[in-house]
Structure formats: C-alpha cells, structure tokens
Amino acid sequence: MGASDHRGEAMSDLSAYEHTQEAGFGDYVQLLKPRVMSLVVFTAMVGLIVAPVGVHPFVAFTSILFIALGGGASGALNMWYDADIDRVMRRTRGRPIPAGRIGEGEALAFGLALSLISVLMLGLAANWFAGAFLAFTIFFYAVVYTMWLKRSTPQNIVIGGAAGAFPPMIGWAVATGGISVESVLMFLVIFMWTPPHFWALALFMKDDYSNAGVPMLTVTHGRPATRKHIFVYTLLLAPCAVALALSSIGGPVTLAAAIVLNALFILGAVRILRRNEDTAEADGYRAEKSFFKLSLAYLFLHFGALLIEASLAPIGLGGW
C-alpha cells in the first residue's frame, strides 16, 4: 500500500469523524440532570442543617456534594435505560444519548462509576448509614422506578417521588447517623408534593408519552381523573406539612408558611378540579401553569422556613 493510499484512508477517517457528534464536558453534566440535582442539594442541605447534631462545615459540604453526585449518577442510569423513550419524545430527543453524542454503554459505565464513588465517599466522609441510604436511593430510582414501575403503572410518578424525597433524610442521616420522625415528615412532604407537581405539568405539557409506551395518568385514566388525583394528593399533603411545622424542627415561621402555602395550594387544586379541557384550552392552561409555578415555590418556601427556624435558634428565637 502506497503513501497516497494511507493519506486517502486518513482522509476518509476524518470525514467519518466530521459526522460524529463528539461529546463535550457539558454533555456529561447534562447526563447528571442538573436541574433535579439542584432540588436534591437544597433539600439534603436543609435536612443536614436542621438536624439536632452539629456537623463540621467541611464534612457537611463534602456530604452534600456526594449526595448530589449520587443523585446525578441515578439520573445518568435513568437516561441510559430510558434512551429508547427519549428517542421517541420531542422534548428529550436532544439529550446526549438519543442525539448520539454519548454511547449507551458509556452512560451506563459513567452512572455506575459515579454511584460507587458517591456512596463510598459519603460513607467515608459522614457515616456508613448515610452511605447505605444513598445507595438505596440510587437503587430505588434506577431499578425500582426507572426499570420496573415507570413503564408498568400510571402511579409511576407517585413511586418515583419517593426517590426524590429521600435526600433530606440522607442529609439528616449525615448529621445524626439515623432516621427520626422529623426526617420521615420531611420525606412525606416531598413525597405527597411530587404527584400534584408533575401531573399539573403533564396537563399542559402534553408530552407524547403514549407513543413512548409510558403509562402516564393523563393517558391511561384521562385528564378529568388526573385533575381529581391532583386535588386528592393536595389534600393529603396539607396535614403532612402542618405536622412537619409542629415537629421539633418546625416553629411559628414554618407553621405560618404551611398554613398559607397549603391554603393556596388547595385553592389552586380546586380551581384545576373545576375546569375541563375546553376551558383550560381556551385560556392556555393558565390555572395549571400557575399551580405548577406555585408548587415550585411551595417546596422552596417550606424548606426555607425550616432553615429560618434553625438559623433563629442560636439567638433564642425560632422553633417551639
């Protein structure tokens, strides 16, 4: 083979590269679902700060970082398994795996490696109970939710919500080394909040879930049933939020926030319940969109109120 042949071969290799979308650093960050991660960081941080046991600031920082990394790892595993769904849905078609920038095997290896690193590092930095809890959370999200229940039941959002509700419990476990009523109440608030939050989104986003084979409540039971479900879960959420405000980590600020926010949330759910598709279409899903926005503020303000209680405690204010 002559030198010109070699050159020709090299050129054709390069033209092949030209069509390959090589992954950048941002694609790996996208694999970690950074928006979900921000919720994990915030709630885990609150769980850690409001716990009755003090933690060295550096240990606390490191622990939050590895809880976030564990959350990101489960996101990568989710994207690996759901690549077939993501290819079908318009909203997710641009993600790194369906867009062809990251291979499926690479995403799996990335998710598994980060899971292992985050669990080991959290165990070493804080305690092994917190590390095991993080491992369980990753397993729950990646296996129980993503692989098993997401494609088999319309209650998938409810079950998936549990995985998103564990981080404040892990934060609490970092400080205390265990579980208590307070940490379970923090879990319950996020757990009961998740279904109305996502179903409100499902009402106005109208993703092509049916083409992807995901049994979303809006598709399997219809939109009127989804509106009823949102209302019921909002009612069930209120006592959990009030109970959290009355617990040892709550206080007057949290109670006031819980009363106001839950009243607004129930009001929003009633508004959604009373509407049908025609009225919703007519005003561009205004009530559903404002309920969704309120749901974001709801969680942020509830956990923010717990932070205020904890920060007022050293000066003799805050708490009961």
């Binding site: 390069l14 590269y17 090589e22 992954a23 950048g24 550096f58």
Partner: protein
C-alpha cells in the same frame, strides 16, 4: 476537507479533558481537606469526636 490544528473536534476534546482535569483536581483537594478535618478532630487515642464516654 481541510485539516486544521484547532478543528471543532479538538476543541470539544480539549474542553472535556480540561473539565475532567479540574474535577480530578477538586476531588484531590476534597479528599485532602476531609483527611485534615478527620485527623484534627481525633483525640490522642485516635477516636473520633463523641467516643470518649465509651472508652
């Protein structure tokens, strides 16, 4: 197709490698910091804080 030293492909690779380098550097600093915190909080017998009562 012209071959340039700074082809788009190379820029992406450089960005990825730089990101990975920074992450690894941060990880080393984190482990070092954790070690310092853990070691400095031990008592003279090497027990972590809160273990005195059981000794």
């Amino acid at each position: 197709m012209a071959i340039h030293a700074d082809h788009e492909l190379h820029r992406r690779r450089f960005g990825r490698n730089l990101g990975l380098g920074l992450v690894l550097g941060a990880f080393v600093i984190l482990v070092f910091g954790l070690t310092i915190v853990k070691v400095s909080r031990q008592d003279e017998h090497g027990n972590p804080p809160g273990m005195e009562a059981s000794q």
